[in-house]
């Protein structure tokens, strides 16, 4: 199944598509979790990552569906 991954705050260096890109589409195995995909990209659970799927804040174990947009950022705030 196809999903889109968007990474920011320096995490985007893990995207295979190259420097200064933030988004890439992937074909993944059915039943894959958000954590598994991010781990395969080189992120680790203990580095303080905030995960969204289709705009909802989810946990590492969230099971992805076809067409999902998986986002990982750092925990920003303030302004």
């Amino acid at each position: 199944m196809d999903i889109e991954v968007r990474l920011y705050h320096g995490l985007n260096k893990h995207l295979p598509c190259g420097d200064q890109q933030y988004s890439q589409k992937f074909e993944i195995a059915s039943g894959s979790t958000a954590g598994r995909i991010l781990t395969e990209l080189g992120l680790t659970e203990n580095e303080g990552v905030v995960i969204f799927v289709n705009g909802r804040n989810v946990e590492w174990e969230y099971v992805l569906e076809p067409g999902d947009v998986l986002v990982a950022t750092r925990p920003a705030g303030g302004g």
Binding site: Y8, H9, G10, R74, G78
Partner: protein, 636 residues
């Protein structure tokens, strides 16, 4: 007296009389209010009566620093500026960084109170003990940068820092800022316009005094402990790497970023205004940190060529969200030019973005004719129009003269339903947080004496997105399982704690990004800094009580000004549910807000229906009998 004293040395400057008096307030003021925001609140309450004209001679504007400023306490470089707001007609305090606060403390002063109105433009010079009032005619009409350069050149020597206003303040724009160190804004409710009304262009200060630290070894140990926490903090690293601009990506992808005047929550292409993009594309570089600040969130930005070529400080999240995302402008360089203009003209970016979005929606809905723009394209997403409108606001030209009054007055003027999309409460445009998906924020905004914004209590912990926030959340609620941000459960308790800590933070002159935003500097750590730095023993509860005393005193100022004032939120956010996306249907209903308010009032010991602090609360906090006139405000 130098910085080791626990008394407060206050300069009282009357511009009508061109006089300067020096007062020393008693040690008891430190014990009750700590200084900075706390001392300012007492000075303002006692120094003026209800109903004074914000632009009149009797409205004071007070600049107060904290006792930790000037010491190497991490982030202790802040000044609080307090006055009655020309935007809201109510209590207003704004906090800003840079180097001004440190210069004032090193000059030996804790606070500067300005009253009266000068007949001619003036600026004040504080050079250690000496205070002068000088002619500012050559810089009247000049931008913040031009003013800074001219005055520093006139004064000569080194070590000067300025708190100044731009044309927006001179022209009494109701959301004009006071700028310190060129690029740091004491923003929101029009404190720059209060200075403008007094014909006070700037206060230049430098100081050569030494800072007294009571126990240097213990102080150093605590500082090192804080620095070690910063080193480990994910949040701190984000501040260092991207500043607050990093919030754009998270809020946009989390569908909590207000777009089109709070009608949508995500903008396609919004990442072009995010910290990642700004840094990686070379627009944003590391800037000059505020005094004593290892977080160094303040950045510089540059546009190297083209119509928006320029360099300035920032931008911050709120600026990018208000001038860019909210207006649907994803042209990075146009938004950076907007930020530069606001710094130079002395405009608050949040309210500026708010009035522009109100205008765009009003034109879209036919309440305001498009011709009012005199050639500008008043539709969503036009960066050039946004940039031009900022200039017109600051100089009160054409439609800018109307926008300079703020959305509340604008909607009253144009009528129809336009008040419904004036996203303000009590006269202040809301900052760029969609509080329909964050209920602690909603409550914090409603009870904020300034109006609906994030700089009274910033209950970041409700999102529980980083380890320090999760730990605090569990501690405050006494639970392992935490309610989501969209739940009202436990939120009054969170808000109360954040209000108290925020007030203490401001009163000592440290930065809320270290305390209530990243939770790196804990309450116990503040107690240790006070003990080591000032030689005063305070436990955590005593410190929180001081914060509470400040919060209640500020509330009493507003009660005296307007007993009808309500703790409330903008109409749109209480009546219009989010229309699409994962948070579709979320809203702040009146009943939900009322329920949270009742719980919050009970926690505070206020009247649960009116929200008025009772005589018992005022007495238990020592405000009765300490604050003159406060007893007269209590309901009988």
């Amino acid at each position: 007296m130098r910085s080791g004293s626990l008394e407060f040395k206050i300069a009282k400057i009357n511009l009508s009389k061109r006089s300067v008096d020096v007062e020393v307030s008693p040690r008891s003021d430190f014990d009750l209010y700590l200084g900075g925001r706390g001392l300012n609140a007492k000075l303002l309450f006692e120094g003026q009566t209800a109903g004074v004209d914000p632009f009149g001679p009797d409205n004071l504007i007070i600049f107060g620093t904290g006792k930790l400023v000037g010491m190497p306490a991490p982030t202790a470089g802040q000044v609080t500026i307090t006055s009655k707001s020309p935007a809201t007609g109510l209590y207003f305090k704004a906090n800003t960084g840079g180097a001004w606060a440190r210069c004032l403390r090193r000059a030996g002063w804790d606070a500067v109170v300005v009253s009266g109105v000068s007949e001619e433009p003036v600026f004040v010079v504080i050079d250690d003990e000496t205070i002068q009032i000088r002619d500012a005619s050559p810089v009247w009409g000049k931008t913040v940068r031009e003013t800074d350069a001219h005055i520093k050149n006139e004064l000569g020597g080194t070590g000067w820092d300025l708190a100044s206003i731009g044309p927006a303040g001179e022209n009494l724009v109701r959301f004009a800022c006071v700028m310190t160190s060129l690029y740091h804004a004491a923003g929101r409710g029009g404190l720059g316009a209060v200075m403008g009304s007094k014909k006070l262009k700037a206060i230049a200060v430098r100081g050569s005094g030494e800072t007294f630290v009571a126990d240097r070894k213990s102080f150093q140990d605590e500082v090192l402990s804080i620095l070690a926490k910063i080193e480990k903090s994910v949040k701190a690293k984000l501040y260092v790497d991207y500043g607050t601009a990093a919030t754009i990506e998270m809020a946009n992808e989390g569908y909590s970023l207000p777009v089109m005047n709070f009608r949508k929550n995500r903008l396609e292409g919004g990442h072009r205004l995010g910290g990642t993009y700004l840094v990686e594309k070379g627009y944003m570089t590391n800037g000059a940190a505020c005094s004593a600040c290892p977080l160094a969130c303040h950045k510089f930005h540059q546009v190297k060529e083209g119509p928006y070529k320029g360099v300035s400080g920032g931008p911050e999240y709120e600026t990018l969200a208000a001038l860019g995302i909210g207006c649907c402008v994803t042209d990075t360089e146009a938004v950076l030019k907007g930020n530069e203009l606001c710094n130079d003209l002395g405009l608050d970016t949040i309210s500026a973005g708010g009035v522009i979005q109100w205008l765009l929606e009003s034109v879209e809905r036919g309440v305001v004719p498009p011709e009012i723009g005199e050639g500008l394209n008043l539709s969503w997403g036009d960066g050039a129009a946004m940039v031009e409108l900022l200039k017109r606001i600051a100089y009160r030209q054409g439609v800018g003269d109307l926008l300079a009054e703020g959305t509340k007055r604008l909607s009253e003027k144009f009528g129809g339903d336009s008040w419904k999309w004036a996203v303000q409460a009590n006269g202040l445009e809301q900052s760029r947080v969609d509080i329909r998906v964050a209920k602690a924020y909603a409550l914090a905004f409603a009870v904020n004496p300034r109006g609906p914004d994030h700089l009274h209590a910033q209950p970041m912990t409700e999102f529980a997105r980083f380890p320090e926030a999760v730990e605090l959340f569990k501690q405050l609620l006494g639970k392992e399982e935490l309610p989501p941000a969209t739940s009202t459960e436990g939120k009054p308790e969170l808000v109360r704690w954040h209000e108290d800590v925020f007030a203490v933070t401001d009163a000592l002159g440290i930065c809320s990004f270290a305390t209530t935003s990243s939770y790196i500097v804990s309450v116990s750590s503040i107690c240790r800094l006070i003990k080591a730095g000032l030689g005063v023993n305070l436990n955590e509860q005593q410190l929180l009580n001081i914060g509470r005393r400040i919060v209640v005193l500020e509330r009493m100022f507003n009660l005296r000004e307007n007993p009808e004032r309500m703790d409330t939120l903008p109409f749109r956010l209480m009546k219009e549910p989010i229309s699409e996306g994962p948070h579709k249907g979320q809203v702040n209903s009146e009943s939900e807000l009322r329920d949270m308010l009742r719980k919050y009032y009970r926690l505070q010991g206020y009247d649960p229906e009116t929200g008025q602090p009772t005589r018992e609360v005022l007495s238990s906090l020592g405000l009765i009998p300490d604050v003159k006139g406060i007893e007269d405000v209590v309901a009988t």
